[in-house]
Symmetry: C2
Subunit: 283 residues, 2 copies
Amino acid sequence: MKVAVVGLGLIGGSFALTLHKKGVVDSIVGVEANPLHAAKALELGIVDSIVTLDEAICCADIIALAVPVDVIPTIAVKLLNRVSDNQIVMDMGSTKEELCDVVSQHPKRSRFVATHPMWGTEFSGPCAARSDAFAYRNVVICESEKSDKDAVKVVSDLYTALGMSVIEMGAEEHDLHAAYVSHISHITSFILSTTVLEKEREEETIFNLAGGGFDSTVRLAKSSAQTWIPIFLQNKYNVLDVLREYIHQLNLFRKALEKDDVQTLREIITKANEIKKVLHKNQ
Amino acid sequence: MKVAVVGLGLIGGSFALTLHKKGVVDSIVGVEANPLHAAKALELGIVDSIVTLDEAICCADIIALAVPVDVIPTIAVKLLNRVSDNQIVMDMGSTKEELCDVVSQHPKRSRFVATHPMWGTEFSGPCAARSDAFAYRNVVICESEKSDKDAVKVVSDLYTALGMSVIEMGAEEHDLHAAYVSHISHITSFILSTTVLEKEREEETIFNLAGGGFDSTVRLAKSSAQTWIPIFLQNKYNVLDVLREYIHQLNLFRKALEKDDVQTLREIITKANEIKKVLHKNQ
């Protein structure tokens, strides 16, 4: 089986590297618009060769899209316009509703598989690719009933070979949940960073005093604007909904602290502690 | 040298364990009001024996306070009332202004050393104690000019033996910076947790979809109310100041997203990315 990965950044690069490592496919080619990233991906052994999108369509059994989510729908349609009934197009993006809507009426819709592997780091580009990515995480496949069974099986088998478990979900449902458990975390980290940089003018002091707690809470603030702005825009209504609730709850905490209201502070923190029960097992 | 540690939770327990491991003191005794914690500390080899506060005053060269910050000032005064000119009282709490104010006029003020080791985890109690704690982190000593030189040297040498670097700072300055780089992170995590638990009623979905990003951002939400409420109250004005700024900046982000204002979103995220430069080196 020959896989083409379009976009050799954190996700696409890690997908290619882990497939290589597991030896589950015969060859992996990459499509990458940035010539520096393309050269780096070759140098790091992420892909066997760099090809054009046209060449990928000619030669690959599966074409996986791992570009920013604002670009995925158009490329997905262009690929579906040209693939055969035996080829599969899949994406690995963080939002699904817009994409699934765009491809919904395409005559080749059934050759498309919409996926979101629930893994990532705050780094980007081919140098961020990791050969230990994805394992023990879940991958969501959206609207699998609109994809051919053989296509879903091939894609599921690839992810399973990487150590992932497959969950099926509607696109709308996916985007709602993704706003809660992924997208909002990035906003809270970005704003923690800008707040601390604004208030704490002495960078040396942040460096000297930051313990492990600050480091982990602000970690996602290193994430790329190019990746995340399109995600926030595509999932705007869900993200705004959870962001408004977050601001509301911060204000409740602020008011309790202003009034020395220990009882309310204790209730909030005790409720927050319940996250222990639902955090990922491997933490 | 004989050390007594008062409070055998995360910080006190880790201090005792790391001192044991490094072999830099002759013996370590513990004072612990919670009998279950006392028994667990003995079982885990954190201390050689459990003693009363009176016994600790009789026998220890250094008495280290690692109890919640609302309790430290009173115990510090009681200890200073009774220690000799050769003994040292130190604390390891996260706030310093209130404490340094309370002890400021004590005739034995110079036998007190106010410290804050910049290390911690989200866990609490003696089972959370780690023998690899503190290394490569900084410890702040506040108002060292009010402590005897020999006392500051002994305390600094202990922390240095644990792999820490000593920074000196005023108490007021410490509390200001601690609000920015430590206390606010805990609030953003607590509220991220309560928001997600409020919006996302299906705990199983959080569990299934949470990637590493959510886990790390919400990690501190597991922290104990008993430790953190006294810290927020003692550092109330600094914490409220940074919290108000945080809410303000979140609202700027929210408004930019509402208006699809990509330019402002990009400016915010690019600014946030600057935290890369100042994060702790060992991340």
